[in-house]
Subunit: 243 residues, 2 copies
Amino acid sequence: MQIQVAVAKIGKYASSESGDSLEMIERPHGGLSFVLADGQRSGKSAKAISHLVASKAIALLAEGVRDGAAARATHDYLYLHRRGQVSATLNIVSVDMETKTLVLSRNSHCPVIVQMAADQQIRLEDPTPPIGVQRGTKPQISELPLQVGMVAVIYTDGVQSAGEQRGQPLDVPLLVAKLYAEHWGKPHVAQAIADALLAEALRRDEGRPRDDMSVLVVAVAAGNGDEARRLSVTFPVPPLFRP
Amino acid sequence: MQIQVAVAKIGKYASSESGDSLEMIERPHGGLSFVLADGQRSGKSAKAISHLVASKAIALLAEGVRDGAAARATHDYLYLHRRGQVSATLNIVSVDMETKTLVLSRNSHCPVIVQMAADQQIRLEDPTPPIGVQRGTKPQISELPLQVGMVAVIYTDGVQSAGEQRGQPLDVPLLVAKLYAEHWGKPHVAQAIADALLAEALRRDEGRPRDDMSVLVVAVAAGNGDEARRLSVTFPVPPLFRP
């Protein structure tokens, strides 16, 4: 069995940076957690919020705090420090090797999609407020046993609303099912689905994303016999002008 | 310009988990930091130490603490909590977008290798103690302007000493220069170098690593026009036995 995680993200067009933050941490009892936060608005102010939120959640998870408690505590922290006036969406996705489960925690209006097989899709889409604004906010949590064939797809607002302004909205659940059918069984299924979903969202916005877009995909694939863990990160850097 | 970061790591043969920890965090002023820690001994006790060390360093970097201060503070923390009796190596590698530099902080007997061009190699190899055991331990720090063509290679003990017991030691600096010449200019240069270096270290230990092995590679490549940031993680999971 092999866990694959892939992230693809891009900032709003003509904005200096993405307001979404993605962080990763190793769980003290085994496994990995990923935190995806989308701060209110875009650009630097959104980034400041999402970085604060993601760092707080990561610090709690690093100490062994369980996911639901970490989401609640991160809400409380943001609610206190910004006096209930600033919101952020927060998704925590954990591959928990102690319980052998995928733990999905969600405070967002965007659903979380879990494709279990080509013809079986679970959607977490209960109405769930973002964190930071309503006292006592709780996440929607789902815990699923890890099994070969499952692919979870988590994404932010910019993907959800891609193309809407141009009358060509994106049906993300439908697209995920299609991408699953197309890519399942290939070696880098998580990366392929993340890249294809981001590319389609970008296409709907005609190459100029109207909001920050992030996609996080976790896939449980059959093992390939290689014992190594691997991580790869690539990011573009604007040309450097040095004085 | 594109930053590529790749990590490949594997645990000691027949050990339940790697005693090395690798964590990543986004820097609040822009850029990314990577922390690689190798705890004394191997298996669970080493993992507990390296996780503690890496989490502490990451938490400090997330708050905007500068790298040298984060390394010193992490030492102080380990020294206090384990009464100077437990050591760990600590490398912090930052792509700092505020200063447009690569910041290399090192508390390890393993050198850090920076290949600037096919015929130019910088080695950071001052005698530097691990953290945790000597009062007032400081890191060796080097800060290099980001420029296309540079590749930094950081690794732990298990790579350094691969093959020694079998009389076939690995000359890592020489191998890095060779791999640079072979892979520079290809699309995934960081991943190619990390994978090839780990594979060669494994080969020297005849497929049964005598110690935890981790390789971290940061490459500054020419841009490819794609604006997206990407992250990919893969890790093997032993077969799950559920009661």
